[in-house]
């Protein structure tokens, strides 16, 4: 395994059991997260991006389950770890930040107690005073005055609560932070500040960040690479400049064109036909083919293989498979 890859999934599949049968919420996804990068994972509701984020920490609860694939994190296959070993990975090595910090923080616990409890659970030898000192130093780096540590979560603003969530991940020096829609409940100015902070933290702590979001603008703003999911499958992955300049998958193309842009002179947005498929009964072949303006006969029959089509940019689309065979 290459050393610059921190996390790597191979053919990861997550199924949800429903009355009408199994749903592949994540369908054979192979994704590499490189050390020190901010990887933006985008897609619309129901595409499986949050499920993928949870699966990376093995946090899928019944009726869902990881039904196949490998999870290689920092040299270990997490699928082979016991639940107890996983608990050390969660929080300790992989931190998580969710959309709504209010539901992730305990309302009757002071902010400081969240931090010292986290530190002392994972590192029982650390004294309370030492844990507090570490917490104080950390939150000040994140722009929260140390006096605020004695506040309860409801006394903080939304932006501050989100910074507390990040501090919980950093308190144990997590290598990877999975942030699921971390800015969705924030106002734009607070959001912009939070994105600045993420960039600074990445540089200072050598952090790797997986940023799961529906907001394409946020990805363009902070990500180094971007991964686009559609109907449980990976549609496209690549360098953020490459994907935004020359998206390969027709879904990525449509998605990027339908994002409102305050800078351009365009006065109309691209309107993508149709809506994402029902995963109980997914389309045959490429899941995007019923909506795809460039669909061919083969698209309805066979699933395209995900592969690199230009250096640093991979996609699963027959348009490029054909090019490859023609050469």
């Amino acid at each position: 395994m290459m050393d610059d890859i921190l996390y790597s999934t191979r053919d990861l599949t997550v199924d949800y059991a429903t009355r009408s049968g199994d749903v592949h919420a994540v369908d054979q996804v192979s994704l590499d997260i490189r050390r020190g990068e901010i990887l933006g994972l985008v897609g619309e509701s129901g595409c499986g991006k949050s499920t993928l984020g949870k699966a990376l920490m093995r946090m899928i609860r019944p009726p869902g389950r990881i039904s196949g694939g490998e999870l290689w994190f920092d040299g270990r296959n997490l699928m082979t770890l016991s639940e107890k070993e996983m608990q050390h990975v969660r929080g300790g090595e992989i931190g998580m930040v969710f959309q709504d910090p209010m539901t992730s923080l305990n309302p009757v616990q002071r902010v400081i107690d969240h931090l010292t409890e986290t530190i002392r659970t994972h590192e029982p030898k650390v004294s309370d005073a030492a844990a507090r000192a570490r917490a104080e130093e950390l939150v000040e780096k994140l722009g929260i005055r140390r006096e605020r540590l004695d506040d309860y979560p409801h006394q903080l603003s939304g932006g501050m609560r989100q910074r507390v969530m990040i501090s919980l991940a950093l308190a144990l020096r997590a290598k990877l932070v999975i942030a699921d829609e971390p800015t969705t409940s924030l106002d734009v100015i607070v959001e912009a500040k939070f994105l600045d902070l993420l960039r600074e933290l990445r540089d200072e702590f050598d952090l790797t960040i997986l940023m799961i979001t529906h907001n394409i603008g946020v990805v363009a703003e902070v990500a180094d690479r971007v991964a686009v999911m559609y109907a449980g499958k990976m549609a496209e992955v690549g360098d953020v400049y490459g994907v935004f300049r020359d998206p390969k998958h027709p879904y990525t193309q449509g998605l990027l064109q339908s994002v409102p842009n305050i800078d351009l002179d365009e006065h109309e947005l691209y309107k993508m036909e149709g809506s994402p498929p029902n995963l109980l009964n997914p389309p045959s072949g490429c899941p995007f083919h019923p909506r795809c303006p460039q669909a061919m006969d083969v698209c309805a029959v066979e699933v395209p293989v995900f592969h690199e089509v230009v250096p640093g940019q991979s996609t699963a689309c027959w348009l490029y498979e054909l090019e490859a065979t023609r050469d």
Partner: protein, 342 residues
């Protein structure tokens, strides 16, 4: 100039803060959240007037005051020449069919036990008693078609949970349109929709506007989306309008430092245009005791002591253009010579 459909003047809404028993006993002064604190604007016939701002700016409260879903603390709303404050509940009810509202969450706006057809028909039952049941049904089917729910007979008997989020918002629009209103207050109507659905809903809004001669009050936190639909826009901060004008003027030549900051902070979907401008310090202050003078002054990069923290700046024309106005002493007021960036 086109006629105003809605005239809002010096509108105020102060919500009393819950007071403890002891505080009331000791005669402690009651505190208020000044959600809307002296707001004036016109919505012209046939336009899309945008009201933008962050959470707590008071934009949604203004929307509810315009519809008189809330009683103002002070000030007036005149709808098509009629002062709403003077109307009795009965008179207000008679006017209601001319103004409709669309909220952010269509699932919360629809009764889960009513079929889509019944939901759309409901306002017609109340406001159009002259119609026979057959006529009403025909009208509902026409509305369904109008919002792109075809075949209408198929959707008529569906329940809200059986259709997608984007389709639900279409139903809410159809229900709003059935009484042929003049004004639609759309409060974050597309905030919950996915990117690909947003474009379709915006398109629907504009289509309905053309077909039914609608006027919109479009309330949003998303300046990028506002760009595609609004003719004019007002930016609110802590209960006050800081800048108002034709969308293009406000976006290309923002005068109030807050408007500028808000526009700069919007993430652009292009990695080649990453933001480099600094952001304003701090966060939105408490609306219970808002800062003196210009409410933005504690966070403002150009604020001057002794000026911006004293009086409240009035909305004044930008470079003599009465259409574009901003409330900043250093940009449009009498202290322009003190603007450090000039």
């Amino acid at each position: 100039m086109t006629e105003a459909l809605v005239q809002v003047r010096d509108l105020r809404k102060w919500f009393p803060v819950k007071q403890g028993f002891l505080a009331a006993l000791t005669g402690e002064e009651r505190q208020y959240v000044r959600a809307v604190d002296g707001v004036s604007f016109d919505i012209r016939k046939g336009e899309v007037f945008g009201l933008a701002g962050e959470s707590g700016s008071g934009k949604s409260t203004v929307g509810r005051l315009v519809l008189r879903l809330l009683e103002p603390t002070d000030g007036s709303v005149v709808f098509d020449g009629v002062d709403l404050a003077g109307l009795s509940a009965e008179e207000m009810r008679k006017l209601r069919h001319r103004m409709q509202v669309v909220f952010q969450d269509p699932l919360a706006s629809l009764n889960p036990r009513m079929t889509i057809g019944e939901a759309i028909e409901h306002p017609a039952r109340i406001h159009m008693p002259q119609l026979s049941p057959e006529e009403r049904r025909a009208l509902v089917l026409r509305m369904l078609e109008q919002v792109g729910m075809v075949p209408p007979e198929f959707f008529y008997s569906k329940y809200p949970h059986q259709i997608s989020g984007g389709q639900r918002q279409r139903i809410v629009f159809a229900r709003g349109m059935i009484t042929a209103p003049d004004l639609i207050v759309a409060d974050e109507p597309i905030a919950m929709a996915d990117v690909s659905v947003r474009a379709l809903l915006l398109d629907l809004m504009m289509q309905l506007k053309d077909e039914f001669d609608l006027t919109y009050l479009f309330i949003t936190h998303d300046l990028a989306t506002a760009k595609y639909v609004c003719d004019r826009i007002a930016v609110m901060y802590l209960g006050k309008i800081v800048e108002v004008g034709p969308l293009e003027d406000v976006y290309t030549n923002p005068q109030h430092p807050y408007t500028r900051a808000l526009l700069d902070a919007v993430p652009v979907p292009d990695p080649l245009h990453r933001r480099t401008e600094p952001l304003p310090a701090g966060e939105i202050p408490n609306p219970i005791n808002p800062p003196s003078g210009c409410r933005f002054h504690p966070r403002c990069p150009i604020a001057q002591e002794g000026i911006c923290d004293g009086e409240i700046p009035p909305l004044l024309p930008v470079a003599g253009n009465p259409e574009h106005r901003a409330a900043c002493f250093l940009r449009t007021g009498e202290y322009q010579h003190l603007d450090p960036l000039r």
